[in-house]
Subunit: 427 residues, 2 copies
Amino acid sequence: MMNDISDFKAVCEAAKRSSVKLAALPDDLRTGILLEIAAELDRAADAVLSANREDCRAAEADLKSGEMTQALYNRLKLTPEKAGGLSVYAKSVSALSGSLNTVDYACKLDDGLVLERIRCPLGLIAAIYESRPEVTVQVSCLALKSGNAVILKGGREALHSNRVLFGIIRDVLAGHKLADCVVLAENREQIRQILTMKGTVDMIIPRGSNTFVQYIRDHSAIPVLGHADGICHIYLDEGADPVKAVRIITDAKLSYPAACNAVETLLCHPASEQTTTAELLDREGIAYHPAHDNTWRTEYSGPGLSVKQVSSIDEAIRHINTYGSGHTDAIITENDLHAAQFIREVDAASVFHNASTRFADGYVFGLGAEVGISTEKIHARGPVGIEGLLTTKYVLRGAGHARSDYTDNPERAKDGQKNYTHQPLRR
Amino acid sequence: MMNDISDFKAVCEAAKRSSVKLAALPDDLRTGILLEIAAELDRAADAVLSANREDCRAAEADLKSGEMTQALYNRLKLTPEKAGGLSVYAKSVSALSGSLNTVDYACKLDDGLVLERIRCPLGLIAAIYESRPEVTVQVSCLALKSGNAVILKGGREALHSNRVLFGIIRDVLAGHKLADCVVLAENREQIRQILTMKGTVDMIIPRGSNTFVQYIRDHSAIPVLGHADGICHIYLDEGADPVKAVRIITDAKLSYPAACNAVETLLCHPASEQTTTAELLDREGIAYHPAHDNTWRTEYSGPGLSVKQVSSIDEAIRHINTYGSGHTDAIITENDLHAAQFIREVDAASVFHNASTRFADGYVFGLGAEVGISTEKIHARGPVGIEGLLTTKYVLRGAGHARSDYTDNPERAKDGQKNYTHQPLRR
């Protein structure tokens, strides 16, 4: 579509400018746009499926030659049911309460001098992902709802699917003179360009392999939201309920072993009835890896896990804070003090008590959808929905006020200097 | 104090571990620690002054030889009044409502499966600054109140002052077995080490020259909170009130020309009575620089500013979004539509209407104090107080719940799969 380098840059700059118009719309108009997208996705389900079949045909060759994994192929393929369900994402995001333009702090500094902090869009977001065409819909909808323009760079393997989905979204936006707000990137040179566009692109959301996410982090000054690793732990405490233990561990490992929130390491207290648990896990077909220092950072992406005996909850927490990726860790225990300590001291985005690590997900958490899961501590941590695509702006309204009329230290005001009233205002 | 490289690393790791104990204290105990620090600062005011005099004696030589600027010297020097006021910072931070450990999102996912998002400390923060000894007190107090351990690296020129202040703070903490929570770094090799401690150090807060802040950003994978430039603008709209204009521009330029929130560029609409304004500004001794493309990013740090005529508010906004640093920009206008457009479209941390840019400050904004001002859009934007030193953690409590029992799509549940209830809970 776009081959020229300067063209692509200009298109991204136009998207950034357009985001201002999008953000200026009343919230119900942005909601309406998402509902139109939902309707168009339903209407165009056949076209989406047919484009996806084209992608799948090419992918099947790569699958045979070993250039593509079965897992990647499964994520690429849209069943008629899945294609028909794409509109659900647009509808569920449209229904989220819009925190855009809300005031999250307000304070009267003095008569006629009022401060507000308002939530506003980041501006232009770039999502770089692979395979799953539904990400195109999810990310676009979250971006548009939050008033952000978005650059979409899907995988080469999903090119036809993404072109059709992108076309649907862009056409709806064109009806509101906002077609510029979405950009489809289709090649690696454009990724390279995105990485250099600090100031134009406000955030990059990479979804893919550890190596890929790390590459993006290492090659751009633009903030990156995402996670490289998903080394999730379960600590089986002394006196853990073995029935709960088996339910949780089985689900955490087997319900979707390739997911980033699947468990990779099981830490067992000697008094945790681990023998019972071991037999039960054997029965479920979970492979034990009596692991060592080199395997504590292994993502199995299959039905295996590392197992370590730890002598105390303190040792378990220390192990997790040393080898974990800060994604999701769980404790299985009937001891509430241990649960509280684990929750307080484990340094991770999600910390669970007697629940499967697999629950770490934006939809599950009630965020509507997610643009990704962040293992960074700053900005947004854990599953990221609309809130993670917003920033804030301090707005001060005066009537010619000058700072030199006020003192910075109420105990040392100079002659004629006033104190601030600092009266919190209801929002 | 510490000369050995591995020692320093071990000390920082111990600080990180200690932060967990600090964060586990009830909020009123952390408040009590700050009040103790305030009392000790008052008691030790003479010792602080005497150490500061020692720093100043060395600095005076550097001042004469031209190795130190007068501005830096002024920031270094503590008057008896200033030294006596250091405890005010500790007291005002102690009085802030502690948002640590509060729940900012809560949702019942199903019976017995409850999600909460709690606010928790980042862990270990490193502040790197120069000259002003009061920063040692401000940053320590904000860090301790928010449950964070802190590495303090002040300027070489303030070494004796900082050692005494650090000693006071550490001794109070020692009384609570928390002495490890504060670390004093004293040389450049330790800065270099801090930059490499990703995973141990959670955030770096550099305060200093543009070049210095940029150096830190370029040489560390650790998140950096701060601002490199402070290119603040005032746009004088058509029909602006000339009296307000002069008050605001004079204050924004002259009340503290070296401050990052001082105005550097004045954009004038031809119909803004700029001639009147020009005469008045002349009278105040503000030097006009009829500027050109090369000066739009100049920080004068003195009584000068760049002046540009713009033909419309749109051109003014475009200029600011092109050349500004996203710090603080103001419009002077009696036209409310123009004010609203300016506030909406200017992409900066602080956007003001009829008020001086100099108001952009944590204390002024009612945040108690600030660790710095951020021009990044992510995490914390503008003056940063306690909130910017916190992250969040998702806590899910269940009773053996497994994800495979639930459907991700209410319209396509498999046999026996349940829907989430997603019932928002009062916090």
